[in-house]
């Protein structure tokens, strides 16, 4: 094997941007203007805060458009954005802009929500901390996965790829560097956005077990 794999975890401190939207037109304008970390926060918050739910609820934009504005079709379009397909936050941002722009261009209504139910843009500071776990072999890797907190799992699968701009998740990258190409490919193909974090953990265990 190559270098050992050091497991990290992450914690978030949520920042309020003081920016709000009360209808789809404002949502579009604000999505264009907020920092990338805010787009990241609103497309990934649900995963962590509601990781026990199955199926996973959508991103914050879709949730607000559906449940607050009552625009089911637009909400569905926003919810079905295939986040795993996008390699960067800016590409993801462009997809939300495209959907909202198309909706507004068709002359659909831009009615305001009730006062007090505005969409509030947020952002987060991510603090990355070490864990006591280190894997030197695939066997050790497999033994550690069940012990990890979901935040550690989240960090190596989601944060690494989307926010830290790595080409693939940390597990696949380490396995590839270690010569485990087929296993790395298999883990890379998982769509973590369509399962709970516990479901993802089980899937990883199942895939890796077949190689040990």
């Amino acid at each position: 094997m190559s270098d050992p794999f050091y497991f990290f975890s992450e914690l978030h401190l949520v920042k309020l941007l003081g920016i709000r939207a009360k209808n789809p037109c404002e949502l579009l304008e604000r999505i264009k203007q907020v920092p990338p970390s805010s787009i990241y926060y609103h497309t990934h918050r649900f995963l962590q805060q509601h990781h026990y739910l199955s199926p996973e609820p959508p991103n914050d934009f879709a949730y607000w458009v559906t449940n607050i504005l009552g625009l089911d079709a637009l909400g569905e379009s926003l919810a079905s954005v295939d986040i795993v397909r996008f390699g960067s936050i800016d590409e993801l941002r462009q997809e939300f802009i495209r959907i909202l722009f198309d909706y507004i261009a068709k002359g659909k209504y831009c009615l305001d929500c009730e006062a007090g139910e505005e969409f509030h843009f947020m952002d987060c500071v991510t603090v990355i901390i070490p864990t006591p776990y280190v894997a030197r072999t695939v066997r050790e890797f497999l033994d550690i996965i069940p012990k990890l907190s979901i935040y550690s799992l989240y960090f190596h699968v989601f944060e690494a790829r989307m926010r830290l701009r790595n080409a693939e998740n940390d597990f696949s990258r380490w396995l590839r560097d270690s010569g485990q190409i087929a296993l790395a490919d298999k883990l890379s193909r998982l769509d973590p956005y369509t399962m709970t974090l516990e479901g993802l953990r089980e899937k990883i265990i199942k895939v890796v077990s077949s190689y040990v």
């Binding site: 309020l16 509601h50 026990y52 739910l53 907190s149």
Partner: protein, 405 residues
């Protein structure tokens, strides 16, 4: 007072280890909390728990209280009401007196700690004594949604001299020149109000209040206040009662010398009439076990507030695995994702519809309750609150959005 390790059984040892790790990064730093009262009120209640727990984690946390006379606190009470949007008169002389009291306190207090953490408006002007290189935080515990703009602007000149401001809900954030942080309040799972209770205690409380344990119970716990819409809750119950044989509990406290509270209680009693299945329970302070038992015995818990600060009674009920139907106001939408971890409503009709649904579909209601409990466990327990504070303190020493420790 609980030991930090007592929480490991609930949140897991890994969470406690994380807190110790974060605290270790604050070695040598003195963190000074400042508020306006040592006992009574929400802020003191939080600090009474928080400061000892921070100390147990190895953080040098201290707590100071400003001094003020009756006139000062009458002015700050008026300011508090004005920030909630109430029309109250605060003169320029009042504001001048407010500043003088702050200056007197600033002259007497040592304000040279590494981090100064000021809670609420009362001590806000202490920031005059801020020294370069030592971060100051202003923590706003109140609803800032529709503040009286004159008072808000008066305070804003001080707020923007802090290094950051902390709010409890997104709706309370304003356009400010300093970073704003969201830190929600929390519940303590080991407190009398939230700890597990033996079935016998729950049964005894139901018996004491002559509640039938065999029929579904719908409960709203809140002080008797028009903003909690207790009469609306009775209307909801009456419409549901036509189809489902349920009982209603409206339980809460309130100051006995508060004329409005007594008026609300009277209105509620009138609305309830002689229905034996409506239980109006005026609870004295320190009725935490009773509140705990009533929440645990409920088939559905309501929080039909018209306006709400954060609405921690929702977190309390969800922590007990109870399905909750609550108004989408204040901090409640943070606690409930509609149809995932509870139900959010905006009207009597909507509340009636969902209450019937949850009483008729106990399996669905059970699932909402389980999801709600998990959500509270991950996001609204005191351990998360401690973690957020530690992260906040650490973040003051970093400019970047991704911090490697």
């Amino acid at each position: 007072m609980f030991n930090i390790h007592d929480y490991a059984a609930i949140v897991g040892q890994a969470t406690i280890d994380e807190l110790y790790f974060l605290a270790s990064r604050l070695q040598g730093k003195v963190i000074q909390h400042i508020n306006s009262t040592a006992v009574g009120g929400g802020v003191a209640e939080i600090l009474i728990r928080m400061v000892p727990l921070l100390k147990q984690l190895g953080v040098d946390a201290r707590w100071d209280v400003i001094k003020g006379n009756e006139k000062f606190f009458a002015i700050t009470k008026n300011m508090h009401n004005a920030l909630h949007g109430a029309a109250v008169e605060i003169t320029d002389d009042d504001l001048q007196f407010f500043l003088e009291v702050n200056q007197e306190n600033a002259a007497e207090m040592a304000l040279t700690s590494d981090i100064v953490f000021v809670h609420d408006p009362q001590p806000i002007a202490l920031v005059d004594k801020k020294t370069a290189g030592k971060p100051w935080i202003w923590r706003c515990h109140i609803d800032f949604t529709e503040p009286d703009m004159r008072i808000y602007n008066f305070l804003k000149q001080f707020i923007e001299r802090y290094d950051c401001a902390v709010f409890s809900a997104p709706a309370f954030s304003r356009v400010l020149s300093i970073p704003q942080i969201l830190i929600s309040p929390s519940i303590d799972p080991l407190s009398d109000k939230n700890k597990d209770l033996p079935e016998s205690v729950i049964a005894e409380v139901l018996k004491r209040f002559t509640i039938d344990p065999e029929r579904p119970l719908v409960t709203q716990i809140s002080r008797f206040d028009y903003l909690k819409d207790p009469v609306g809750v009775i209307e909801v119950y009456r419409q549901v009662k036509k189809h489902i044989d349920c009982q209603l509990v409206l339980a809460g406290g309130g100051a006995t010398d508060d004329p409005e509270g007594l008026r609300v209680l009277e209105d509620v009693r009138t609305a309830a009439g002689d229905d034996p299945d409506i239980h109006i329970i005026f609870l004295p302070p320190s009725s935490d076990i009773e509140i705990n038992a009533l929440q645990r015995a409920s088939a559905v818990v309501l929080q039909k507030s018209l306006k709400e600060g954060f609405g921690l009674t929702v977190a309390e009920a969800l922590w007990k695995g109870r399905p909750v139907i609550a108004s989408a106001v204040g901090g409640i939408p943070l606690q409930i994702a509609h149809k995932y971890s509870g139900i959010l409503t905006r009207s009597i009709e909507g509340t009636v519809f969902y209450l019937k649904q949850l009483l008729n579909e106990p399996e669905y209601a059970r699932k909402l309750g389980l999801n709600g409990r998990e959500h509270i466990k991950n996001n609204f327990l005191i351990t998360r609150h401690l973690r957020d504070y530690l992260l906040l303190f650490i973040s003051l020493y970093h400019q970047e959005n991704i911090i490697y420790l």
